[in-house]
Each structure stands twice: as structure tokens, then as C-alpha cells.
């Protein structure tokens, strides 16, 4: 278990705006994803945990060991923190072979077990064949596996990963995901992964922390965060569709019902506690919760007419994107019979409407 409360400020310079990081989060076993756009303070958080950056104040603990404590002045050097770190560029030492890279990481261990340990890890990460080669002589996937292996071979108490899948093509990315799942299963080391890719949160995250401008704005399981973003900024950060500005026209707690006005249309939704009639809010629905049909005249109850902009084929689903930032996802192949239809109606299921 890692607990981090970190404060760090940078004053504005001549050519840079000031920045302040103020974050408090915990990461237990499994993968915790720090998600946010670039400049949100994700890497700074990771670097503070690893000891590359000294926070102004706060406290960082792994299990019951203090790595940093601003109040008492404790600040362990990176070498004493036992944090594995996987860098974006892998940072494999170019003048050493893959085997030497791993050996470097266990030089503090007793001589007797070193060779066996390195051989074991090379085997586990399918690197035995290329162990004698230098990093520039092996494939991207092998480099990636070697950098994870090197970070893990010394049995760190936490594994920190700084956007390791950034810029990878699809097959390498898939391979990377499967390696990390294997690591989660076999090593049980808690992992903190930094990413700005929302897909990665779903693929890997047991927990996620959404960061924005140096603050943690929401945390929870990826499912929970994507289902109910804390506010419209988080929803936008997550790249979610179907954020519609609406006005609350009526609220009926007894019948668990409400009416929302969106442009010229009125939609029925559930009761929204704590809201008032006349509130301007954002309506949010997941693309897979909406349904569509070709338009045939007047839209029916809870339907909005929409003009199709484009369709995007995803592995198992089809996304229809409409004018007005509305997107609907349907199972792949379900729309084959409607090729060429441009005018549609989108149906908003009352019970699934959420407001932010």
C-alpha cells in the first residue's frame, strides 16, 4: 500500500506559467492509474514518489516506511526507496547487453543467487534468446519487457510506470498490456501507471485517479469514474461524448421523474436530488446507453432528431457520431441495413440520464 500526500509549487518564470501540485492518494495492490492530460502533474507525482523531485511538503509512505516527510525532514534517496521505475523511453543502458542490464539491478544481492535470479527473470520475460544483445539490437517489445523485468528483478515495493505505452503501435500496446497483467498476477507488486489514454485506464486500471491542473479531481474504479464523472471537466478529460447543456424544467420526487429542456426538445429523466427547477446543468449519457432508428417524421417520446456526421468502426462495435456532439454505440453489423441513411432519431432512455 502506498500513501502519498504531495505539495510542490513552481513559481512562474519569464517563459513559463507557475504550477502547483497538491495531491493526496492511495494505491493498493493491483494497478492504480494516474490519468490526466499533459501538464496535469502526473509525472511529477511519480517522480516525487521515486525521489527524483523533493516535494515542498507532504508525506509519502510505502506500507509503514516513510520515504518522505516534509515535517520531520525525512527524504530518502532514490536508491533507498525500493521503487521500480519504468521510463517512457525504457532507459535501458545502451552500453550493456540485456543480461548486463538485469545484472546491474541485482548487484546489491548476494553473489550466489544473482546468476540464477537473472536467468529466471530472462526466462519469465522471454528474453533468454536475446540476453546477449544490446538494447538497440532488439525489438521494441523486447526492450519493453526488459525494462519491466529490470525494474522488477530487485523485488521493489512498488512499480512506477511513466506512460510506457505512449507512441506504441497497436500490437506492441496489446503485448504490453498482457505483460502488465502477467506481472499483476505473478508478482503482486502494487503498480502506479501514468497515462493520458482513457482506453488504458479500462484495459489495466483497478483504480484510477483523474488529475487536472495538479489536483486529483476524482478517483475510483474506471467503471465508476466513466459512468459518473464528477463534473463536466472530468467528463471532457475522459473524452466522453453526449455532454448536452440542459435546463431542469420540472422535478417530481414522488414519481422519481424530471423534465429537461435541450434546445427545442424536452426529455424525461429520473429525479435529481439536490437540484432546483431552472438549474442549467450538463446531461450525460454513455454512447452505448442510447439507441437510434432512421427518422420517419416526428420524433417520439424522449427522441431527438439527429444528422449523422460519420460512423467509426471499432473492434466489436460501431460508433455513430451525430451533429451536436451526440454519439451512439451499437453492436457491429447492426446498422448494415441502413447504409446511406443520414436523418436519424436518437432515443434517450429516461432511467439512464445523469446530470453533472
Amino acid at each position: 500500500m502506498i500513501q502519498a500526500r504531495i505539495r510542490k509549487s513552481y513559481a512562474a518564470g519569464l517563459d513559463s506559467a507557475g504550477f502547483s501540485l497538491d495531491i493526496d492518494f492511495r494505491a493498493a495492490a493491483g494497478i492504480t492509474v494516474l490519468f490526466g492530460s499533459s501538464g496535469a502533474g502526473k509525472t511529477l507525482t511519480l517522480d516525487s514518489i521515486a525521489g527524483f523531485v523533493r516535494p515542498d511538503e507532504g508525506r509519502i509512505l510505502i506500507d509503514d516506511q516513510i520515504l518522505f516527510d516534509g515535517a520531520s525532514g525525512v527524504n530518502l534517496a532514490p536508491r533507498d526507496r525500493h521503487c521500480g521505475y519504468v521510463f517512457q523511453n525504457y532507459a535501458l543502458f545502451p552500453h550493456m547487453t540485456l543480461r548486463e542490464n538485469l545484472e546491474f539491478a541485482v548487484e546489491r544481492a548476494p553473489r550466489l543467487g544473482r546468476r540464477r535470479k537473472v536467468a529466471e527473470v530472462l526466462e519469465k520475460f522471454h528474453l533468454t534468446e536475446v540476453a546477449g544483445r544490446r538494447p538497440y539490437q532488439v525489438s521494441g517489445g523486447q526492450k519493453q519487457r526488459c525494462s519491466i523485468a529490470r525494474a522488477l528483478i530487485g523485488a521493489p515495493r512498488v512499480l512506477l510506470l511513466d506512460e510506457p505505452a505512449r507512441g506504441l503501435d497497436a500490437p506492441l500496446r496489446a503485448e504490453f498490456y498482457s505483460v502488465l497483467r502477467q506481472v499483476r498476477q505473478e508478482f503482486g507488486t502494487p503498480m502506479v501507471l501514468v497515462t493520458h489514454d482513457s482506453e488504458e485506464c479500462f484495459q489495466l486500471g483497478d483504480e484510477m485517479v483523474v488529475m487536472r491542473e495538479g489536483r486529483a479531481v476524482q478517483s475510483g474504479t474506471p467503471r465508476k469514474v466513466f459512468d459518473q464523472p464528477a463534473n463536466v471537466d472530468v467528463a471532457r478529460l475522459l473524452g466522453l461524448y453526449n455532454l448536452l447543456p440542459v435546463e431542469i424544467r420540472s422535478l417530481d420526487p414522488a414519481r422519481n421523474a424530471s423534465r429537461l429542456r435541450y434546445g427545442d426538445f424536452e426529455l424525461a429523466g429520473p429525479y435529481f436530488p439536490g437540484r432546483l427547477i431552472g438549474d442549467q446543468v450538463w446531461l450525460f449519457v454513455r454512447p452505448d446507453e442510447l439507441s437510434v432508428a432512421p427518422s420517419n417524421g416526428r420524433p417520439a417520446f424522449n427522441q431527438i432528431p439527429a444528422k449523422l456526421l460519420r460512423t467509426v468502426q471499432k473492434p466489436e462495435r460501431l460508433r455513430l457520431e451525430f451533429l451536436g456532439d451526440i454519439a451512439v454505440e451499437v453492436p457491429g453489423g447492426a446498422m448494415d441495413q441502413f447504409n446511406g441513411v443520414n436523418e436519424w432519431v436518437v432515443e434517450f432512455p429516461s432511467r439512464d440520464l445523469r446530470i453533472l
Binding site: 536508491r79 521505475y85 521510463f87 523511453n89 532507459a91 539491478a105
Partner: protein, 227 residues
């Protein structure tokens, strides 16, 4: 014509010793300038660079004042080694050291600063001490640049004239280095000896520069391949 080869051997000996010393001092200074943050950093860099731009006579004068028989350092030296430092071949080593170290520090600092920080950070997270990070990661990564800089420093030491003349003097068979011997030969009208020595110096310098150029080519393949 009978040629005295003593100045060549003396120059090679002085250059070798001063380059070894420059390497030890220069690498340490360059590492500090590249890695540590402190207020007087750029002042220190400027002070180290000063011998590159000062006239040799000025530098020689300073050294005479600081290392002369009546100076504290000169007296300590005399007490320790039983002879004064100035006007000995060891003084020529000091002269070369001051002339070649700035060159080495400049190149080594640039080399250290060009190393991707993530390599050193990775080594630290893997439990390496700062000394081990330096010997096992940083230095091997900049090995060729440092060797090239060392070669240049050696060539520079070999060719020093002004500072050496000021503090080591021109004593035949004792402190007369190659460049001073050439000057003497020209002054004394011994054109033949001067020509031979000039050609020898030029050949050595050319050889060293070629070596330095070869060393600066990238050892780990194309740049992106080293990532």
C-alpha cells in the same frame, strides 16, 4: 646536423602527466557543473574557462606569483620536495595543466549534460550509489566524447609555449620543451632543426585530431536506436 630529441621526450612526458591530472580534475569539475545547482556555478565555469582566453603571459604571471619561491604554495612545495617548483619541468606540467584543463572541462560538461537523465535516474532506482552511477552509467555513455576531449587536451599541452616559458623557463636539457626548442632554433638561425621539430609537432597534432574526430562518432548506432 645533430638533433637534440630531449625537448620532444620532455614535451611528451609533460603532456602525458598534465593530461592525466587534467582528466582527474576536469572530469570532477565538469560533473559538478553539469549536475549540481549552486549560486556561483556560472562564475566557476567562467573562472575555469579564463585560461583559454587570457594571454599566456598574464596566466604565466599569475602562476609565478602564486607558485613562486616566496609564495605560500611555493614554500610548501619546497618544504615537501626539497626544491622550488618554478623553473623545473614540473612547473611545465602545471603550465600545461592550466592550459588544457579548461578545454577538457568544457567538452566533458557538454557531454555530461547531453546524457539522457533517465539513464542515471534508472540506475539510482536500481540501488546504485552516485559513484556507481558515474562509473557504470554516465562515464561509459560519454566515454568517447571524454576520450576525444582528452586527446585535444593532450595536443594542447604538447603545444604550450607562453605559460611554460614564464614559469618553467628555457633551460636546455631541463625545462626546454618542444615549442620552446623550436623558438630557440629559429632565433639561433638553426633552420634545419626548427623544420624537423615543426614537422614532428604537426604530425603528432594531426594524428591526435584525427583520433579525436573518430572517437566522437556515435558508438551505439543511430541516435534513436540508443533509446
Amino acid at each position: 646536423m645533430r638533433l637534440d630529441w630531449f625537448p620532444l621526450w620532455l614535451s611528451l612526458r609533460v603532456a602525458s602527466i598534465s593530461t592525466a591530472l587534467a582528466l582527474a580534475v576536469g572530469l570532477w569539475l565538469a560533473w559538478i557543473l553539469a549536475n549540481r545547482k549552486f549560486r556561483a556555478k556560472e562564475f566557476l565555469d567562467a573562472a575555469i574557462t579564463l585560461p583559454l582566453v587570457l594571454p599566456p603571459t598574464v596566466l604565466g604571471y599569475y602562476l609565478l606569483v602564486v607558485l613562486g619561491r616566496s609564495s605560500p604554495i611555493g614554500q610548501v612545495y619546497q618544504w615537501a620536495f626539497g626544491q622550488p617548483l618554478v623553473f623545473t619541468w614540473q612547473a611545465a606540467v602545471v603550465a600545461s595543466l592550466f592550459h588544457s584543463t579548461p578545454l577538457l572541462v568544457k567538452s566533458a560538461r557538454a557531454a555530461f549534460e547531453s546524457v539522457d537523465r533517465s539513464y542515471e535516474r534508472a540506475a539510482r532506482t536500481l540501488g546504485a550509489t552516485e559513484l556507481r552511477v558515474f562509473w557504470r552509467v554516465t562515464l561509459p555513455l560519454v566515454r568517447r566524447s571524454v576520450l576525444a576531449a582528452t586527446a585535444l587536451a593532450f595536443a594542447r599541452s604538447l603545444g604550450d609555449f607562453g605559460v611554460t616559458l614564464m614559469i618553467a623557463g628555457d633551460i636546455p636539457n631541463r625545462t626546454q620543451t618542444l615549442s620552446i626548442a623550436i623558438f630557440d632554433a629559429v632565433e639561433g638561425g638553426n633552420g634545419a632543426a626548427a623544420r624537423v621539430l615543426v614537422l614532428v609537432v604537426s604530425a603528432i597534432a594531426l594524428l591526435i585530431l584525427t583520433l579525436a574526430n573518430r572517437l566522437t562518432s556515435n558508438p551505439f548506432g543511430p541516435r534513436q536506436a540508443s533509446l
